[in-house]
Symmetry: C2
Subunit: 328 residues, 2 copies
């Protein structure tokens, strides 16, 4: 497909057709895939190039929607065969996806090839794919300012050595809490984070679903007693979730989009990036597939960012002498 | 036992001897009980009166320690027989206590009787006991400014009607996330909170262990789209927990201590109270029993409050135009 020069953010990963059932309803044959959710979220902040593969059946309306969001599709291969298909459902807790059918189709032979113009992209998001493919992308980029990778339990159990090579080489590693424990063998998340940072990344971001996300960063200004800086972000309170599919990818997309938009990789700005990631994830789960995120407005994003500020706000003690025997 | 007039905070609940085993070690025959943990935490902020029962075997050193913290023990009955004894252990996740032995002893016939001077106390914490006893305490107090109650799964399944009477009559209801779901039947915590507030309390505080705590409050200034104000507090990151026993009680004690010390029941000040509760809970788990909390200094408490501020801090967007097509 045609390209528009060097994107600010390159996202690499799956593009899928999903059939999803949740307690809120069902959505057959809708858009999915980690790279699609991630690119869409990032597209609200920065120019994104998407690297993936689709089959001949991939709907033209999907291409139009992605291009309409300004996403560069020069890195999307259209292969003979059908698009990666996933069918699954969620129970009431929405915490875990249950797979009913997975047909890799053209995704089985995916070899990410970055268009020449993408190689100098400053920000790279390696969404969840085989770690060997994530490594091949890292070989293709030239001096990115920030690279980040996501993964899943499947690669932790089956391709741990290759995954560790990825972890060693990226700046930010995304993982959920169960995966952090599985990967490191540490029950305690602080210990798990320390083990991951010891491999090389500057930051590890641990996603906790409905419990928000935390970030551990080394060599930051304020390390505190842990020897790492620590940031905790809440999740957005929703009285009903519709579909959690892609929330983690929207989170990562919002994160890297914010970083690319601001060009600031300080720990303080990564905190704002996490909030923008949390904002995008919170919209993601409000409807099936990409329905909500693809139609967002900048005003909605800004309003929810401010809502996150109110959620965590509490006042300093200032000079109030609140501790100690009461005076009256 | 002797008293010192009307306390600011009255705490009612169990006083126990615990034998605890965790992956960090073990502590046989140490001080425990919800009212003891709660009173100790509150004692750093306000004058506390403790209402409970102990047996003839309750150690004098424990009495001295509590009195040394300025806790009024006029409401503590010393009965014939042995003190409530609990023996249990925790696995590596520290999330759940496994009971090995529970001897109610003198606690089986506990009837809380408030000393005359306690009846006009402005702040009342009903720690986890039979809801009928919690109700009897509410009958004994005169126009308290703020009442709060904690409970446990045992009363939700066995004494739900009595518990609902308590919920209807207190200002703040404390519950953990699993109990909130069990009590309301709602999987979604926002819905569970709404169901609880519909019964009468102004606030419900849902404890999530390692994931922190959240507070829902109705009739606050900033209700937002939920029709309730929402505050999310993180937990403090610790690379090792020693003993979680009593953490929830220390949390509630720090909360009501702060409220009593400041005399301010606004939602904004309840947020600071939750942080002080989280501070006390985080110290509670650093050692067995009351060992860490009983030796805290005001400086340690203040420093940890400031650490909580840093944990959640992120900058506003101000006028930065971060959303929209990047100009690069």
């Amino acid at each position: 497909m045609n390209g528009n020069g060097t994107p600010q953010v390159v996202t690499v990963g799956s593009m899928a057709i999903d059939s999803i059932r949740t307690p809120a309803g069902e959505a057959p044959n809708c858009l999915g895939g980690a790279a699609v959710h991630g690119s869409l979220a990032a597209s609200f902040f920065a120019r994104v190039g998407l690297v993936g593969v689709v089959g001949r059946d991939y709907p033209n309306e999907a291409i139009s929607m992605l291009e309409g969001r300004g996403i560069d599709l020069a890195g999307v291969q259209r292969a003979e065969g059908e698009t990666f298909f996933w069918k699954g459902y969620y129970e009431y807790d929405m915490g875990e996806a249950h797979s009913e059918e997975t047909r890799l189709n053209v995704f089985a032979d995916f070899q990410p090839q970055l268009p020449e113009a993408y190689r100098s992209a400053p920000y790279v998001f390696l969404a969840n794919i085989h770690p060997a493919l994530q490594l091949s992308v890292l070989e293709q980029v030239e001096k990115p300012r920030l690279t980040m990778a996501d993964t899943m339990n499947f690669w932790i159990s089956g391709e741990k050595d290759a995954l560790t090579e990825v972890v060693k080489r990226v700046d930010v590693f995304f993982v959920n809490d169960a995966e952090a424990r599985q990967y490191t063998g540490a029950m305690n998340l602080v210990q798990a984070a320390r083990d991951i940072l010891d491999l090389g990344p500057r930051s590890v971001i641990i996603k906790k679903g409905a419990h928000g996300a935390v970030m551990f960063t080394r060599d930051a200004d304020d390390e505190g007693p842990l020897g790492m800086s620590y940031f905790s972000a809440p999740s957005f309170p929703l009285s009903a979730l519709t579909d959690p599919t892609g929330a983690g990818d929207s989170f990562a997309g919002g994160f890297i989009g914010h970083i690319a938009r601001t060009g600031d990789i300080s720990e303080a700005n990564m905190r704002r990036a996490i909030i923008h990631g949390s904002v995008m994830a919170s919209f993601n789960v409000e409807d099936f597939s990409v329905r909500r995120v693809s139609r967002l407005t900048p005003d909605e994003i800004r309003a929810r960012y401010r809502a996150f500020q109110r959620i965590v706000h509490f006042e300093a003690l200032e000079d109030l002498e609140v501790v100690g025997p009461a005076s009256d």
